[in-house]
Symmetry: C2
Subunit: 155 residues, 2 copies
């Protein structure tokens, strides 16, 4: 029994607990890209990734509103110049991953989006409710609560 228990324990450890009642969106690390950004005010680099529904909507320019089923993921890293090209700011330590999950029925009370964040390499769930997210995203409520313009891609 011991090897089996070890396997079960490690599989369980691999999925972090929920944040704001939202399950951890597994597999986001391999999702396709919607945009990138560099917050020059706090020196962090960001990648905005999406599940299939989100990427299709982004490429088609159908993002106001984003369709139900959309999941947007934002990964944040500390930035620092590359060792061999110091003016190129590139990712260092992982800071957090956060998600906006579109379900206009389930999340009707939070403007159609579920809001969740997990911290650091260990992906510890962020305990604060969605109000901290929503208040900061309020300037873009007319853009379905999303700051990002999907990056243009050649076809």
């Amino acid at each position: 029994m011991l090897p089996l228990l070890a396997v079960l324990a490690s599989a369980e450890a691999a999925t972090p607990p929920s944040s704001n009642g939202i399950d951890y969106p597994t597999g986001w690390q391999e999702w396709a890209l919607i945009a990138v950004s560099h917050r020059t005010d706090n020196g962090t680099l960001r990648a905005i990734l999406g599940n299939d529904t989100a990427v299709k909507a982004a490429r088609a320019g159908q993002t106001n509103p984003w369709p139900d089923g959309t999941v947007l993921a934002k990964a944040v890293w500390k930035g620092a110049g590359l060792e061999n090209w110091s003016s190129a700011v590139a990712p260092k330590a992982f800071v957090h991953a956060e998600f906006m999950i579109k379900d206009s029925v389930r999340f009707a009370e939070t403007y159609g989006w579920g809001w969740a964040r997990w911290l650091g390499e260990t992906q510890a769930p962020f305990a604060d409710g969605p109000q901290v997210c929503i208040s900061c995203h309020t300037p873009v409520r007319g853009r379905d609560w999303v700051f990002t313009d999907p990056a243009p891609f050649p076809h």
Copy 2:
């Protein structure tokens, strides 16, 4: 026959011609992320994406050398502050896509990598040979010719 010909013609137009004898790597727009960067010297944002072989190697830290079959794609955009958060520099016009393709036999004369670039939204092939790429990447010849450190991802 006409509708069939129209379909064939549009499928052909969709794949740009080769660059430096290298076929266009179709589907790279949906590849997973290896890293991002912001070249603050010329104001451009970059995403470094990889095919499955590249992403597996990056996540496992097996990148010196990168395995045969690796394709690294770099997408470059002009950067500008977000409309609603001006200190966040985000992608605007698409500049170019460029690729390093690892095949230690086929590309033995160019240090194991094929080098190719396509320009702009129309993805016009870049005509200059690989020497322009290689000379600029020479400072990282001890890192298998690659500047980028794969970004850390939580598991």
